[in-house]
C-alpha cells in the first residue's frame, strides 16, 4: 500500500501538468510546502507569494482567471475559506472563474495551533457558495486527480488537502473520481460507515476490527466530492443499508450537512447517525490524535460507536 504526503501528491501532479499548460498560476498566502517550492523554482514567473493578505489573493486570482489563467491559491483552511468567503462568492463563483483554492489544514490538522487554525467550518461555509465544488483529499490517488479535475472542469473548486502521509485506498467502484465517492469495503452489508478525508482511514481500520470481532461486515464509503458527486447513485447506494453512521473531523455543517441534502429526497434519514466535532471552540493545543480522542474521534471511540450502532442486526 503506497503512502504519500498529500501536499506532495497534489503539487507534484500540478508540477507535471504546468509543464505544458502555461495558464497555470500559483498564489500563496505566505504558506509553503516542499513540493510547492519545486513549483516556485521551476516556474518562478508563475508563482507569487502574496503575503498575508488572503482577501487580495482571491481578488487577484479572480482578475487573473478573468484573463484566461487557471489559478491555484494556497493557504491555511480558515484563512482561505471563512476570511475570504465573500471574495470567493462575489469575485470567483458568481463569475464562474477557474480559481482553485488549495486549503491545507483540514479538521484538526493544526491541532497544536489552537482554535484559530482549525478547519472545522470550511466545508459548511464553502458549501453555501453556489457553483463552488468541494473536493476533500483522502489518499494519493484522489488528491492527484483533483489537479486534473481542476483543469478539466474550469471553474471554482475548493480543494482540501491533508499535510500528512496517507495510504492509498483499494476501491470497489472503478469510476470513483466521477462518482465523487469511493466504496472501500463490502457492499453487501446491512451497515455502512460514511466518512471523508484522513478520518476515513481510521474509520476503515475500526470497521475491519469490528468485523473481525463480530463477524458482521460493514461497507465503508469515502466521500471526496462534498458538493457535486453523482447524487442519485450515492443516494441509491445509501438506501440499501439498514443503518448508517457518518464520521467527520468537522462540525456537522460538513459531511453530515452534505448527507442531509443527499437523503432529503430518500428514505434513509431515520437510520443515520452523524458523529463530528461538538459545536464548541477548541482552545486545547495538543497533538492531533490526542485531540481526536478528547473529541470522540480517535480509533477507540469510533470503534465503540460502530459497535453500539451495528452490534445487533436490525
Amino acid at each position: 500500500m503506497t503512502s504519500m504526503d498529500m501536499r506532495d501528491a497534489f503539487f507534484e501532479r500540478l508540477l507535471e501538468v504546468a509543464q505544458d499548460d502555461s495558464r497555470i498560476i500559483v498564489l500563496s498566502a505566505d504558506h509553503g510546502a516542499l513540493a510547492l517550492s519545486k513549483f516556485e523554482s521551476k516556474f518562478s514567473s508563475r508563482y507569487i507569494n502574496m503575503g498575508i493578505a488572503e482577501q487580495n489573493m482571491v481578488g487577484v486570482a479572480a482578475g487573473l482567471a478573468n484573463s484566461g489563467k487557471v489559478v491555484f491559491i494556497y493557504g491555511i483552511s480558515p484563512f482561505v475559506s471563512l476570511r475570504v468567503l465573500e471574495q470567493l462568492t462575489v469575485d470567483v463563483a458568481a463569475m464562474n472563474l477557474a480559481v482553485n483554492v488549495i486549503s491545507v489544514g483540514a479538521g484538526l490538522t493544526y491541532s497544536t495551533d489552537s482554535s484559530t487554525h482549525l478547519g472545522l467550518q470550511d466545508i459548511g461555509a464553502i458549501s453555501s457558495i453556489p457553483g463552488m465544488n468541494i473536493l476533500n483529499s483522502s489518499d494519493p490517488i484522489n488528491t492527484k486527480a483533483f489537479v486534473d479535475i481542476a483543469l478539466t472542469n474550469l471553474g471554482p473548486n475548493y480543494i482540501r488537502i491533508e499535510k500528512e502521509k496517507l495510504d492509498t485506498f483499494t476501491r470497489i467502484n472503478s469510476g470513483f473520481i466521477e462518482d465523487g465517492y469511493s466504496i472501500l469495503s463490502e457492499i453487501n452489508s446491512d451497515f455502512c460507515v460514511v466518512s471523508t478525508g484522513a478520518l476515513t482511514h481510521i474509520c476503515l481500520n475500526a470497521t475491519i476490527e469490528f468485523t473481525k470481532l463480530s463477524g458482521i461486515s460493514v461497507c465503508v464509503i469515502d466521500v471526496h466530492n462534498l458538493k457535486y458527486p453523482k447524487v442519485d447513485s450515492l443516494a441509491k447506494l445509501l438506501e440499501g443499508f439498514k443503518k448508517i453512521v457518518s464520521f467527520e473531523e468537522n462540525y456537522l455543517s460538513g459531511l453530515a450537512s452534505f448527507l442531509s441534502k443527499i437523503y432529503s429526497n430518500s428514505n434513509i434519514n431515520n437510520k443515520i447517525t452523524s458523529i463530528g466535532i461538538p459545536e464548541e471552540f477548541i482552545f486545547r493545543s495538543c497533538d492531533r490524535e490526542s485531540l481526536r480522542k478528547t473529541l470522540g474521534l480517535s480509533y477507540d471511540e469510533i470503534l465503540e460507536v460502530i459497535q453500539d450502532n451495528f452490534k445487533d442486526k436490525p
Binding site: N56, N66, S67, V90, D91
Partner: protein
C-alpha cells in the same frame, strides 16, 4: 455606435453628453422608484471623459473584444450612471433604462450578464484586487491594454483596498489606473466626521502609487490626466483622486448625503430636470 476610435467629441460636446447622462440617470431612478443618485451624479464626467474622450478602448458591438481596456466600477451602487453611458453607446437598447430594478437586464448593482460590465460589484472593496489581477495578467502576457478601477472614497475604509494597494505597487502595475470618487460623503454623513480619510493622497503615495488630485467635473483636466496615465509603461500604478460633488448638477442634491440613495418624487424630478435642461448651473 461604436468603437472608441470613431468618437471625436469637443469639450463642449462632452459637457452636453454629461448633461444628457444625468437626465437619463434621473429618469431611470424615477421610474425605478429609488436609486443611488448622489454617487452616480458625482462620477458622470469621469465616465464621459473615459468613454467618449478617446481614452478607453472598447467596441460596444463586441463587448468582449479581446483588446479592450478594462473598466471596473468597484463602487457598484453607482451603476445607473454607467448603464446610461453603455446604453447611449449601444451596448444594449436604451429602453432598458426604463426598466431599472424591474426584473429585466439592469439591476441596482452591476453584473457581467450586462454587456459592457466586466465583473460583479456592489459589495465594496473588491474591485482593486480584481483589477490588479487583470493588470498582472496583461503584464505577464505583455498586453498593452489598461485596467481602470473606479472606487468610492467611502469604499476605501475597506481593508482589502489597502491589501490591493500594497500589491499593485509592489508589482509595479503601471497599467493599472485607480480612481477614487472623492465626494467626501458616505450614506450618513461626511467621511472626515465619521472616520477620517485624510491625508488621503498621502496614504496612497505612502503605498507606492503615483497620485494625481483633480477636479472630477472638469472635463479638460480629466482628459489631460487620462492622457498622462495611459502613456505610462513602467513603474508605479496611478491613483486619480477625483474631487467631486455628490449629487453634482442639481442644486438641491449637491453635497447632501440624503441623496445618497432614495426615490425622487414627480415635483422634485421636474425641478431637477429643469435645472439640468435649462440652467446648466454648474457652468
Amino acid at each position: 455606435m461604436t468603437r472608441y476610435s470613431e468618437l471625436n467629441f469637443s469639450t463642449i460636446e462632452l459637457e452636453e453628453k454629461s448633461r444628457q447622462i444625468r437626465i437619463d440617470i434621473l429618469k431611470a431612478i424615477h421610474k425605478a422608484g429609488k436609486g443611488h443618485i448622489g454617487g452616480a451624479f458625482s462620477i458622470v464626467e469621469i465616465l464621459v471623459s473615459l468613454y467618449y474622450g478617446n481614452v478607453l478602448k472598447f467596441d460596444s458591438k463586441k463587448p468582449k473584444w479581446e483588446c479592450r481596456d478594462r473598466f471596473i466600477l468597484s463602487k457598484g451602487h453607482a451603476a445607473v450612471a454607467l448603464y446610461a453611458v453603455l446604453a447611449d453607446l449601444g451596448y444594449f437598447p436604451r429602453e432598458e433604462l426604463d426598466y431599472l430594478n424591474q426584473g429585466r437586464l439592469l439591476g441596482e448593482h452591476p453584473d457581467p450578464r450586462i454587456p459592457g460590465i466586466e465583473v460583479v460589484s456592489g459589495s465594496l472593496g473588491h474591485g482593486l484586487s480584481v483589477g490588479s489581477g487583470m493588470a498582472l495578467a496583461d503584464k505577464m502576457d505583455k498586453n498593452s491594454r489598461k485596467t481602470f478601477v473606479l472606487m468610492g472614497d467611502g469604499e476605501c475604509y475597506e481593508g482589502s483596498v489597502w491589501e490591493a494597494a500594497m500589491f499593485a505597487s509592489h508589482h509595479e502595475l503601471s497599467n493599472l489606473i485607480g480612481i477614487v470618487d472623492r465626494n467626501g460623503l458616505i450614506t450618513h454623513g461626511s467621511t472626515e466626521m465619521i472616520n477620517r480619510l485624510e491625508p488621503f493622497p498621502d496614504k496612497w503615495e505612502a503605498f507606492g502609487w503615483t497620485v494625481y488630485e483633480i477636479d472630477a467635473h472638469d472635463l479638460e483636466e480629466l482628459l489631460r490626466i487620462w492622457d498622462t496615465v495611459i502613456k505610462k509603461t513602467s513603474g508605479a500604478p496611478s491613483m486619480i483622486i477625483a474631487k467631486s460633488i455628490k449629487g453634482k448638477g442639481v442644486s438641491f442634491m449637491e453635497n447632501n448625503f440624503n441623496w445618497h440613495h432614495g426615490g425622487i418624487n414627480d415635483e422634485k424630478l421636474k425641478n431637477a430636470l429643469k435645472e439640468l435642461i435649462e440652467t446648466r448651473h454648474w457652468k
